[in-house]
Each structure stands twice: as structure tokens, then as C-alpha cells.
């Protein structure tokens, strides 16, 4: 089981790739999934492998909050950051209540993200 720092679940493939590449340049290992189902499959096949999960809300197959619920079922300890361009306040409240650690609006500030990651890493250890 290979260990990675961040699992990105986002249907915007180009965004996910680009974010992944940028994080890689900063020494962060990433894996990107482009829909809810493949993301969940990856988590199931690699339990506890990701330090942090970045989850988009608007996914083509399953809505983000549902994915969040499944993730929390599989691994309640993994920090999940919601990252969205569509989030409403209701979504934010719902996600935070369901165990999401952060609710981040697009566009994302990369430095802010790495800081949060380091923080999460520290907690995870």
C-alpha cells in the first residue's frame, strides 16, 4: 500500500491535475479521482493511505455530501477538506456537521492549502 499525502476527488479533470502537479512540485504526493465512485473505490482499496482528502461537492455520479458520508464510514479519522465553487451555506453547515475539517471556496490559494496540509499531517501523526 503506497502512502500519499492528498487524494483529490474532483470532476474538473484539468483542475485536479493542475492542482496535483503544483502540490507535487511542493513535495506533496497526490492522487486524483474524477468522480465519487472511483474516489470511494480508491479509498476502499487503500485504507488509511491518504493523509488528507480534497473533495468537490458537485460530482457527476454521487453528490459530494454523500461521498463524505461514505468516506467517514470507511475511515472516520481522515481529514476531509471540501473544495467547491458552488457551495451554499447549507452545504457548509451540513459538511462541517458531517465531519469535514474545512470548507474551501474555489479558486484555492495554494500556500493556504499546504499550510492546512501540514497542520493535518501533524495531527495525523
Amino acid at each position: 500500500m503506497k502512502h500519499i499525502d492528498i487524494l483529490i476527488i474532483d470532476d474538473e479533470t484539468k483542475f485536479a491535475d493542475m492542482l496535483g502537479r503544483r502540490l507535487s512540485l511542493r513535495g506533496v504526493t497526490c492522487h486524483a479521482c474524477y468522480d465519487g465512485q472511483s474516489g470511494l473505490d480508491w479509498i476502499r482499496s487503500n485504507p488509511g493511505a491518504a493523509t488528507l482528502i480534497l473533495l468537490d461537492l458537485k460530482l457527476p455520479d454521487i453528490y459530494g455530501t454523500q461521498v463524505l458520508a461514505y468516506i467517514k464510514e470507511i475511515d472516520p479519522a481522515v481529514p476531509v477538506f471540501i473544495i467547491t465553487g458552488h457551495g451554499t451555506r447549507e452545504d457548509e453547515t451540513a459538511c462541517l456537521a458531517m465531519g469535514a475539517s474545512e470548507f474551501i471556496h474555489k479558486p484555492v490559494n495554494i500556500d493556504q492549502l499546504t499550510t492546512l496540509l501540514n497542520h493535518a499531517r501533524g495531527e495525523r501523526k
Binding site: 483542475f15 502537479r21 503544483r22 512540485l25 474555489k106 479558486p107
Partner: protein, 587 residues
Amino acid sequence: MKRQPLIIKNQRWLDFLFHRPNIHLASFQTISNYPRIWIISILILAVTSLSPLVMATFINNRLIHKSVDAELVLQTDRVTSNAKRSMRFFLEERLNALRFIVNELPYYTLIDNQHLAKILSNLKLGFGGFTDLSIIDADGSQIAYAGPFNLEGKNYKTQSWFTQGIEQDSFISEVFTGYRDIPHIIISVRSKTAYSRHFLLRATLDTQRLMDMLSSYKTNVHTDIFLLNHSGILQTPSTIFGKVFTTAPINIPAFSDTTQVITPETNKENASVIGYSYIDTEAVTTPFILMVHKKKSDVMGTWLNLGKTFNWIIGICCLVMMVIITLVSTFMVNQLYLADQAKAETMLKMEQSQQLACIGQLSAGIAHEINNPLALINETAGYLKDLYQYTGEHRSDKEITELLDDILEAVSRCGTITSQLLGFVRQFDVQISSVNVEKLINGILSFHKKETEYKGIHVTTMIAPNVPAIETDRGKLQQILLNLINNAFQAIEANGCLDIMVSHLPPKKISIEIKDTGCGIPEENLKRIHEPFFSTKKEKMGTGLGLSITYGLVKKLQGTIRVESSAGIGTIFTVTLPVKMQKEEKA
């Protein structure tokens, strides 16, 4: 949620007369010209309610006058006719008595003084009113005399009554004084002696008796009855025109066989009704005109006074009604105006909030759709920059790094706008907690400490001692105050003033007033300041979302926001909030 009016006004009595037309409200008002409506309403009410009253009074007055006039004429006519009949009978009766005497008794018995005295005494007994009797021959010499005056042997040839009397069978003279120097009337009958010579039996009538008879027809003190001769000289005394033999200052009425009543056209004060009748006996015409004079104002005084009183009462009624009509109209029109005004304000607010909602929804939709491509641009540009920085290939090419920084900055700005847009439309959950307004304000002001010192701005905070801690959403109140205070700081030039006043509006509200001495907001912009993207700030200074978000937040906190501003003087934002915010029911 209970909605509070955005624009609070002092509503006064007569507002509609003195209101300054508001172009924003005018398009929502049903009626534009209230003073006109007011005047029309007063006129219609006055005409419909007062005109029947005025007409009835007018007709009533006319009727009273007419009937009173008719009654007066009838009365005068009756009195005149009656008096005339008596007068005629009085004269005829005496003339016939004389006629009987000359026909019945031979001439020689008549010229016997003793016999004549006996006849006189019989006449006095039978008829009364005779003073003396005498026989006068055709030459005018008095042949026999019976009576109280010593007139024997007098010659009357030159007297006018004699010349007229000797030419007619019967004769009635005017009132005159003659030898005896006492006013009297002569009646005479002509006859012939056995030698076919004419002689006169003359009798003198007591005028007092005549006057008594006429006075008996005086029904009241306002009636004057007197005799005139054909030249207008009084034959009996008149209460109006004076003593016997004076000339009455009235026109001699035209001759008529019957009794006539005339109403001479004079001024109202002296208006009178005159009844007259030329007195003729069967045998002879007399020189008398019987006059009955009634002064209208005296006789009708009671009626006229009653009419005057009535008119006064009606006049006062009309005045009272006019006052009531005016007050009622004013009240109604004012209520109408206030209702219309309130309706217009509500509609204006509805339009504004609908506009805001529409713009907000549209903006939010755009923001949502833009965020994803924006995120891609951000990451792509960021990645490019990273490539330069981390791989070091073109590290020396500063121009490209700068250009990429420009893209990233532009994306960041776009991100700020979209997040504010979302913030504007987002339905926030409200978290109510107890908030100390003073601490909140001081916290916000501390952010601006440096700017205050740098610009030399004089900041005053006045918190009334009775302001309670309020139950509201701390975060939203903070954002509201932050926005308003930020705006104020941006508007204030060096050495300006910022006053923040918090006061308690008993029982359930507090008001926060933020007053700056900045550039102010021109009137044409005041209506638009709550619109999203409306900004007068220079480029890169603002997004134009601040006040529209503030407006939305204040409504969310069940409060109202009001702005007063004069260009060049400054702006006052007043936020009114409930002390205890009600929990919202979820829609």
C-alpha cells in the same frame, strides 16, 4: 419576519399640502395632485350639502314676503272698502234727510227760524252730526238760520261753495273754515219756492263725527286713515302727514270707481301699502279721496324680524357645516395621501428588493459558473509560475514571472468578487448570541488605528449608558459595522471626523449612527447605493457590493438601515436593530 419601513418619516396633519414631491415615489402614487382633490372634495361636499339649505331658505323668504304682501294688500283693500262704504252712507244719509225736508215742507215753514230750529233738533236726534241749518236764497242771502253761531243776515254770494251749490241739486263741500273759523263740511240741497226761485237748504256737518268714524277703522297703530281733497290737501288729520289743511307729500292717485290698493316703489325702509277710494254718493260727487296708509316695515316687523333671525341661524349653520366639511375633507384627503404614500413606499421598497433579489440571483449564478474556470486559470497560471520557480529553467526571465503574477492577482480579485456575490445572496443561518455593541465597535475601530493616526481623523464614540447587550448574530453585525466604518474611513479626508453614536430606542430597539464628514452621496445616487456593483469609488478601490451586502445583512437581523447625506458635508448611516432578535422560521 416583520418588515420595518426603510424610510421612516414624521407624518403630520396636512402633509399632503406641504409635501415635497419625491420623483421616486411619484410613479407609484395613485393620485398626484392632492391639493386639487382636496379643493374638489370640499367644493362637492359644500355644494351638495349647502345648496338645498340655501335654496330652501331663499324660497322660504320669497314665499313669506309674497304671502305677507298679499295679506297686507287684502287687509288694506278690506279696510278701505269698509271705510268708504261707511263714509258714503254717512254723507248720503244726511243728504237724503235734507232732500226729504225740502220736499216735504213748504218754503214758508222753512224760513221760520223757530221751525228750522225744531227741524235741526229733530235731525240731531235722528241722525246726529249736524251743527246748524240755514236757508239761503238765490242771491246768497241767508234767510233763516238755526244753530249755535250768530250768522243771521250773512251773504254768501262770493263764497265758492255757494256758487257751486246753487248750480246743482245736491252739493257736498270740502272741509273749510268759513266765517266761523272752525273746520266744517257743508252739504246743501237746492229747491224752488212757490215763485220758482231757487233756494238752498244748507247744513253744516260736524267733522269730529266724521273723524271718529274713520278712526274706528284703524285696526292698529300702523294704519293711518285720512281724507284728501283732489288737490292733495288733508281734510282730516293724519298721523303721518300732520294736521288738517296741510298738503300731503304724496301723488294724487289716478281716478277709479272702485277701491284700489297700490304699493309705491320706494326704498325698503319706507315701503308702504296705500289703499284709496274716490268717494261718490248716488246724487253727487264729493271732493274726498279716502286714503288708507299702511307702513310695511311696521306691520310686517314681526315677520321681517323672524325672517332675519332665521337667516342668521341658517348662515351660522352654513358656516359650521363649511368648517366641518373642510375638516372632514382635510382629514380624509390626508388619510388618503398617507395611505397612498405608504403604498408607494412599500411598492418602491418591493421594487428595490425585487431588483436586488433578481440581481443577486443572477450574480450568484454567474459567480458559481465562473468559480470553476477561475479555479482552473488559477491553478494553471500557478503551475506555470511554479514551473519557473521550481525547475529554475527561466528563473532569470523576470518579465514572465511578473506577467504570471498579474494573472494570479487578477484571478484573486475575481475570486473576491465572486465570493462577495455569493455572500450577498447566500441564505445565512443566523446564530443568535448576546452581543456587547460597545466592545464590537471598539474591536472594529482598533483595525483602523493606524489609519486614524496617519490621516489625523477624529473618532468619537458615544454609547448611551442605558444601551443593553443585544441578542443578535455577532458575525453579521460585525460585518455590517465593518462595512459602514470602512466606507466612512474611505470617504473621510485628512483631519475629518467620524462619530459613532449608539442609543437605546425604548422599549425594543437600539440605533447605531455612523456619521462621517466625508464627501457625501449626491441625491441621484442615494436610491442606488444598495444595488450590487453600484460604486463611485475609483477603480480597484471597491467592488460595489459592500452596501448591498450590508443592506441584506441588516434585513437578516430584522433591522432597518437609513441613509442621509449631503454632498460635500457628509453622510449618516443609521442602523436600527431589535434588542432581542426573533428566531426565523425556516421557509
